[in-house]
Symmetry: T
Subunit: 139 residues, 12 copies
């Protein structure tokens, strides 16, 4: 079982970016946690971060994975193209968010990804990723 | 660590109700799963189901628990009163849904609970509950 | 053929409540009329009134009937939970209203029940119920 | 008691038109049913079908009837002029629909006729007409 | 100077139709008044009434007039086609209404004709027509 | 018969202000025209212009007139207070506009004055005033 | 003069619930204050609190009072049924709120109760109740 | 304790203006009532009425008072400037209305003053002012 | 292969009507072009123009053709009935427009025909028709 | 080069009014700064403040200046009349705001002035004025 | 005549991606078809596909072509920047879509490209491209 | 003091792109002007242009500057990701636009950048940049 983890724009800054919203954990720590949890659950985990909508689409299109864990970050709310890419490859996907998007600005309440994902998880900080990985690998 | 699990209206019919939307698992099976997972994670789990908005509020107000796992079902979209009850008791809550509400009717996209919950999880069937329990008990 | 007739909130006041809107017929008279018409059409009719959304759901969930005639009254416009209960039991339902809801306040134009009912009837006073019963029992 | 039955646009195709939505009954069969039911209830029934909004208005304006049973079909949602004609002649009218308009496209949820009709009935196939005739002739 | 006066749907009922809204003057009296006023102001006046949107368009397209006085009645709010016909013939037009449309239902506040007319007059009963004729013939 | 003519904000600039929209006639010429037409129709005409919403209300409240002809200009779209003043004095009012407001920016399509006026006239330049005076003095 | 005071959902928690929004006064203290003020103003005051929409409707329907003072709390924004109950019993009602609902979330700006109440008072903490009682008892 | 009472536009006409909406009490009677009630409650009351938005702002800016009781009348719905003035002087304010604004036209449901006031009272005629004064002076 | 070409309202004026929007080609020239192109592509082409919504529906209902090329003109934006007629006959249809409707008034951006057509073409003048015919006859 | 600087309502309170939003600089200091900067840039600067919409219009209409620097404050969002005055005099205008209006309440995001101004500047405190003056005087 | 064909995001997956929506034709086959049709019509055709909004803009900016055929895919609905690029280079463009976007999700009904294109074509599968090329090369 | 100037999509075409909207100045000239002005004001200025949303984010994330001057061009209206990047780096930013966006299409009135910028400037052509630089470097 190969899991691709996609981190969207600005997530590379994690730990330094607005810690009162996003916490102090770094992206490397999240990737490390996911690798370990994947190991424990019998899956290999590869991670990919980009600030480029197109690069995220290119990566997803490679289809060298069996399940997708994606935190689309700001592209959640504006990218039909990433949603179309996920639909196009036909691989199960789970959407995760660090913060509780429903407690933030109204434009963050709409997700183009959610309707085409298997499910969504938000609000638990780095734990959102861990839960998302479990969701992908469940049963 | 005492966790209260609240199941909203019509969830008592689970397993018989529209299985193409909600699956064939019964509520008893979910409660059993949560009890076992709680046990494993060091928490006691009590469950409560009601079709009455007021009864759900009454139950939450008893405050005899340390964390709340709630699937508000239809009340997600119409109950300010349950959201106010959760805010009022000041106990951390996680919102879960069996189905992917964002892939359903537009009126199911709005949640009064989500903005005041710690986080939300939807779309993973009974696994949504398991993930929600983990989220509550994380760290 | 067992028909359950559900009367929503405030319908117990019928005959005394705003007669210029709802007429002077009492609920007992309507129930009597339905019993007789049911008898004539070969169906037993049981009636149930409650001001409690949850009690209406509980009653519907008992599934001890073959067809549902429901005047959801105010819950028409606010209850996703009753609509979900009707969908959940999978028994054919007809929605009736005494008054012409489309000639009243805009918030009364929206029904959560209508889309999941077999059909809707409004505006004919107690005759709405008689027509609804005929609709349910029509071959 | 003379009842005019008006069938709006495309209803002449009934039985051939999208049977999965509108059923296989033909308009002639409906007219026959209404004539018989009218006979039984002591009313004469005349029927009129047109695809022309203006022709429907012309027909209504003749005022050679005591009650109007109208299925405005597509003009339900777009014709202020037919609604005005019904108001202008001041004859009681009942609106009927074969299908459950509230379970279809959002633009079919709005009716210009409903607010000025005595009442509305939808979703029961040809039975909608029979119920509408009963509603018009009730007491 | 030839003026065409177009009366939209249901205006043929004037004097009998809802006199509390539209007054007791008949269309013939209005036509007579316009003929006399036209005579006084040096213009010939021809009048045309139809309940058919298409017939109104056909009439306008004949272009055998120098100015158009139109009370589009219900088609005011729904007919892009009549507005397009007026634009297409390129003859100055004035829109009139007997009643004050802005004091009525919200759907009567929108006019497809107003933006392409020279101007609009509403609320003065039959005097609206007289004023409209003066407006067309002014200097 | 005493008619008060109220000119709203910026109308004192008429003739110099955006002549492509408002024409080259000055306000003095309009006042002169109205005085003469009033004379002809047997009414005295007093005119009042102000850029101050409050001053217009003060003037209307003096109630030393029998009919009100008002071009509220920009206050058409923003002043509930002037509309309330007109309702409060209970004197018939006619709203006029030089330009066709419906062919301009959307915010100019809404009038707080129109619903409480007897009627409205727009689009005929200074002729709008003359027609408005005739409307006030008709019959 | 018998006054019924109805406290809506979660108000039983008053004094403990989010004191920064609702203050530290308990419901018992408010009831005590109202009893005393009622005594002073010559009225008997009975109080009722419930988290159940249906129970509030049941209580109102008993009609054993001459005036209603109601803080509908969360049901303000979602309950057509309580508003209908108040209309149905035809007893004068005053709506009160502890907090200034207009300074809170947009969904709290809409009240189904306000249009059918005699008047509304919000923002003065427990004083809102005292003022509401005075309003009910004012000559 | 000095209380400034501000009466907005058209309130000087009170008693003569639309008595079916606003009652027959005059503004002088209200001012008299407030003076007496103020006296009773240990406060001096000064009243100010203007039809000018700017004059109301000027008056508020003088800051020669300790509390503000304001019936902004029509400016309730259109004046950001008065709301900003109240915020700017930083003196507690209470908003009152004679009529129940929520039972009137939709544009009267929005208040720019309410969110920045301490609280709002509407629907009790002159009693609204008395209650508002009590609210301001309540401990 | 028989193709019916339907031209909606005002298209008979083509070449004279607002040439800056619609060009100088006449409808006869378009019909001639389509006949020739149909000939070249092995299809017979019959054309029909009407300003009457009902007449267009009547024509479509005759079903004496295998494919429909329709420029609904103004009825694009207002006619549910024509859309229903096309659905009812179940014959493939292509929607064409001379002008680029998306570069015009907002009300021209909505088409009732587009969702039930095979596809849509706009903006290419008479070439839109030629392309539409090719689209219908492709493969 | 004569520049008129117009300060809208409540700006006379600057320095005392909500310093956390508007800073501690007084209006006199801003006027002094503008006079000096105007001097440096070869322009005379006259300043005008009023809380009266009408007074601001009167001042603008005097046309004794070559360029307009305006901070319309609250009138930004509600005054069509000031915008019309600026259009009417046909003198270039620049709109400035002390605070970042886009980071405040939604009703502050709309400006009637912006579309008819040369340009807009907001968010820089008193520096907004200095930048606005430079913008006006830039070649 | 040089034609640039731009294929937007995910179109490289054509033939494999959701064949029930987009068909089984590959992008290479479409490019081959366009090359041949271009050849036949006397034009050279170059094709370009990218999942990167910026790369599409860069390519369009090269201006080494005389006409643009673009299927913006998901960027249709979200990219102001591509629309601006097309406007900026001032080269005629035709927008094409494989599927009938108007029969899909509402967010696919809006196009930023359509208003600035010469025209649009949708719904004909690969034939949409062929028709688009003909439209660009017509006359 | 190091200032980064970011030019969004299509700004590289400046001077050639739609000069009636954007003027004839080239981007090189603007950069030259900013370098000189920066020099004069004691700041070093580096400029960056890209048509790629992701590249702009990458550049901003380098954080090798003390202040950001950004003309987001088309991304103003669609990029949550660039706004998030600016928030994430926590460096003061000023948004500038060459044209007056409020006088253009409605979709250009919304900015995702404005609420998180220090301030915004639009409408002054290249002078907008100069003013923006001054704003950044002010005191």
């Amino acid at each position: 079982m190969r899991v691709l983890v996609v981190h969207g724009p600005n997530l590379n800054l994690l730990g330094t970016r607005e810690p009162e919203v996003y916490g102090t954990t770094t992206l490397a720590e999240i990737d490390q946690m996911l690798a370990e949890l994947g190991n424990e659950l019998g899956a290999s985990v590869e991670t990919f971060q980009s600030n480029h909508e197109g690069a995220i689409i290119d990566r997803i299109q490679r289809k060298d994975f069996d399940a997708l864990l994606i935190n689309p970050a700001a592209y959640t709310h504006t990218s039909v193209a990433i949603a179309d890419a996920i639909s196009a490859v036909g691989i199960p996907a789970v959407e995760v968010h660090l913060s509780n998007v429903f407690a933030r600005e109204p434009f963050r309440h709409r997700s183009f990804i959610a309707p085409i994902a298997k499910g969504s998880i938000c609000g638990f900080g780095k734990e959102s990723y861990a839960l998302g990985l479990r969701a992908l690998l469940a049963k």
